[in-house]
Amino acid sequence: MEKIDIRRRNLLAGSAGAVVLLASSRLMAQEARPLPEYVAYKDADGLIVHSNNTIETLRSAQGVQPVTPDRLLYVRNNVTPPPASILEDRDAWEITFEGVGEPRTLTLGELKTMGVETMAMVLQCSGNGRAYFEHSPGGTPWQTGAAGCVMWTGVPLRTVVERLGGAVSGVRYVTGTGGEEIPEGIERLDVLVERSVPIEALDSIMLAWDMNGEPISLAHGGPLRMIVPGYTGVNNIKYINRLALTEDETDALIQATRYRIHPVGTEGSPEYPSVWEMAVKSWVTGPSESASAGMNQITGLAFGGMNAVESVEVSVDGGETWEAAEFIGPDLGRYAWRAFVLSKELEPGTYTIVSRATDSEGNQQPEETEPNEAGYNHNGWRRPGLEVSVA
């Protein structure tokens, strides 16, 4: 089987006079892998299965949905999830708190008595868009589908920390540990899912038990997940069983050498920036069927990462000229995405449709993202463009 090369596929599909999106999804379907058992409930028709631990959403399925349902939400597990039995008695799940005045272990049932909030947030894999880097980084060649916008319900971490006597002095990071089971025979720190984020994030972190109004599924981190709004997916620790306020970052490889922004050809190490905050980004999700001449609705999704998204423009000539698109649907807050649309008369011909978003601080998507070895944080506007033939 050939390594997926979306750039070549786009070109072929474009020259064949087909809509790129449809063509590439058909090619994917020919080599479709089965949905793994733990996500058998998901909608296979709207997903691309890269492996049992990496599954992305087709952009045609993302459409203009303000909230992504579980059945269409991408999956990225660094380590295969623990057994489903951990969900049998959710309220009995335990999490140990350290680096606070009164360190102790709390059950999820106890956390639920301390406070509750709900927020919408874009959950996006650090490697979303990796397929668009020219240097073909190793790892899953995600396109636009390793992202979704979901509603989390849980208790604010600051509330829990206050109840436990506040942070001890000198702490600089919030470190969360995942509850995946690590078999004997391999180094624990090689595969341990443990991430540290700057202590500044403490005020916005949530310990969540519901996603989109339902108990979080196993694939997405239930019974309890640490949510760090505006940060990439890996920082949102699933099955969290330990939360420590720490002076130093964890030594787990997933923090020390992986998920670092380092130059092409170099090895990751702690001297390079960690993959934490997300930047402004958008992509077009339609038209996804063969387009006909006349009025077309060009749709897409845009978000600001750490900041609210302010505006988005669409170009049908590969970035030569731009027109303002309109946001549609509700504004779910700073960390959510917004669907956009540009109603446009299209004459017969071939169009390269791209979108470019700007956040509330005036940051705009670049044309290209500077390459980094592992292919993280792609937010360039040119490469995810759609080539559409209108007949």
């Binding site: 089987m1 390594k3 892998r33 089965p34 793994p36 299965v49 492996s51 049992n52 631990n53 990496t54 660094n78 380590v79 295969t80 190793g138 790892g139 690590i182 078999p183 004997e184 025979g185 391999i186 180094e187 090689d190 595969v191 490889l253 997933i254 992986r258």
Partner: protein, 90 residues
């Protein structure tokens, strides 16, 4: 399509998969032919990695998987052909 590897190479590849590679591949990977049911990394029967993909993963590491520095070129080549062959990738 690559030419089918000879029996000796496949046998060596299977031995590398089960015994010589340390930690053993099967601790993390499910591979029906080898009878392993590891559940940390991708299920190789579903992933169907090519010779090139296996070679890259073993020599350079990928994700939580570290590079295997104690295997010879011959062993890595045999391992890659074995995995690609029994999963039907090549």
């Amino acid at each position: 399509e690559a030419e089918a590897p000879d029996e000796a190479k496949l046998e060596l590849g299977r031995t590398v998969f089960l015994e010589r590679a340390q930690p053993a591949c099967g601790i993390c990977h499910t591979l029906a032919d080898a009878g392993t049911e590891g559940a940390i990394g991708p299920v190789l029967d579903d992933l169907r990695p090519t010779v090139e993909v296996v070679t890259r993963a073993v020599t350079q590491g990928i994700g939580p998987m570290r590079p295997y520095t104690d295997l010879s070129e011959e062993e890595i080549d045999a391992l890659a052909h074995y995995v690609a062959h029994v999963t039907g990738a090549e």
